[in-house]
Every structure is written in C-alpha cells, then in structure tokens.
C-alpha cells in the first residue's frame, strides 16, 4: 500500500526534524558547556 504523498512528506519531515534537530541541539548544548563530561572522547 502506498501512503498518500502529503502524509509521506509530513511524516518524513517530522522524523528528520526530530532526529537531526535533537542531535544538533544537544551537540550545541554540550559545546556550550565547554568540555562537558558527557562527551565520550573528552580526553582529546
């Protein structure tokens, strides 16, 4: 079964917005806390 085009676009947009948005904002947030301990490779 093929999803209607508009529904596909909305779903796709939501998924991209959530995933890319979350990781980008979190990464920026950690960068703001300079050298936040959560970075797994902080010994660099």
């Amino acid at each position: 079964m093929r999803l209607p085009h508009t529904l596909k676009k909305i779903l796709g947009w939501l998924m991209l917005f959530t995933t890319i948005g979350v990781v980008s904002c979190q990464s920026m947030y950690h960068a703001r806390l300079d050298n936040a301990p959560k970075f797994p490779l902080t010994k660099w």
């Binding site: 991209l16 990464s27 920026m28 960068a31 050298n35």
Partner: protein
Amino acid sequence: MLYLLPLPLALGAMLSLVAGDLYGVIVNAGGYLLYATAATWIGRAGDLARQARLRVSKPRPRYRIRAAWLVAVTTALLSWLGAGYPLWLMPAFGLAALGGMYLYYGFDPKTAQETAGADDRETAAALEEAETILERIDSANRKIQNREFNRRIERILAVARDILDEIARDPADLRRARKFLKIYLEGARKVTEGYASTHRYADSTGLEENFRQLLETIESVFRRQHKKLLENDLFDLDVQIEVLQTRMRQEGFEPLEKKESTNE
C-alpha cells in the same frame, strides 16, 4: 531543510572554537559539513531528474540514496559523539533519519539497466516530445509583452516540468498521463503560440480576457494533474480533461464572447 536543521551544529562549532575545545569543533563542524554534503546531493538528484527526461536510458548516480545514508550515519554518530546519548541508541537515530529521508525525499528511481525495455524507450520518446512542446511554449512566451501572462505561463511551465519529472521517476505514470501530454500540453502550446502571434495586431480586451481565463484553466488542470500523479489517484482526471478539452475548443481563438470576468 538539510542546511537549516543542523544550524545549531555550526553554532556549536563556533562556541567550541571560542572555548578552545578541539573535540567540539571537530564533531560539530564535521556534522554540519556532512549534512551540507547530503543537502548538495539532494539538489543534484533534482537536477539529474530533469536531465534524465531527455536521456532516460543512461545510468545516473543515485544521489538520493547516498544522501539518505550519509544523513543516517551522520545522525547516528552525532547522537553518540556529539549529543552524548548512549551507544545503543545510535542505530535508532540512524534508522529514524534514514526513514525520514526516504519519506521526505524518496529514493532514486531504478537505474536504466533495471528498467530498460519497451516502456523505457516509450517514456523517453514521450518525454522528449513533451519537452519540445514546453520549449515552444517558452519561446512563444518571450514574444508576449504582458508581464501578468508571462508569469502565468512560467508557472504553467514549472508545473508541467514537475509532471514530466514525476513521469520520468515512475514511467508507469506515463500511461495515466498520456492524455494530459497529448491534449493539454499541445493545447497550451497552440493557445500560447496563437496569442503570441496575434495579440500585437488585434488589440482587444476580449482577447486578453479570454486568454487569461484559458491560462487559469490550464494552470489549475496542470496542478491537479500533478497532484493526482503524486497521489496515484486519477479517478476523476479523465472527466476533468474531457470537460476542459471542450472548454478549450470553445474558448480557443474562436469569435470572442464576453465571459464572466475572474477576480484576477
């Protein structure tokens, strides 16, 4: 969208730079660059779809799939390295991003080798013919000295090109869009060329009004056709085309009669 969504990463890279945190700079700037690369690939995929109409039988790089995987891997890595989520969440982020890319941008149509056959040649010929008609409409448009009409015709051409892109992506659409290509595109060409060659000599507001109404009709049918092709639902399109065909015959360039003026 792929340039805008990861903008916090660019900001994060700058903040890390100010803080002197090399790791933060690498992760944030690297992440942004990878997303930007994916965005460029998506753009190229669009250009290729346009070129592909003229030479369907040539193989072409599958930029959409590459971009989708790049976004998936970048998101997965960033979720761990940048956002600090646990390692086991990486595949979830990656898969969700991949799914999002598939739903939003779609993947590339099958390569020429996979689709080669009578259908492919038929599609290529039909699209080439349609492209020639569009070029003729475009050149007629340049002869028309009326900015409103020029803009309308440009919009019609843009929608028509989207429809051809859609047919190139999914040649199965050709069968359903054949009537549109044969009747409507050709009708639009005749009307535009006719107006372009006569409007300078016959300065009549009736003629203008008639042409305006026709352009409105054509634009709305083209938009509907595009929408229906995308939704794979041509239930009532044949009826619409029949109705509009009759209307074009009536309105074309036959003796003018006053019609209800539209709002625009």
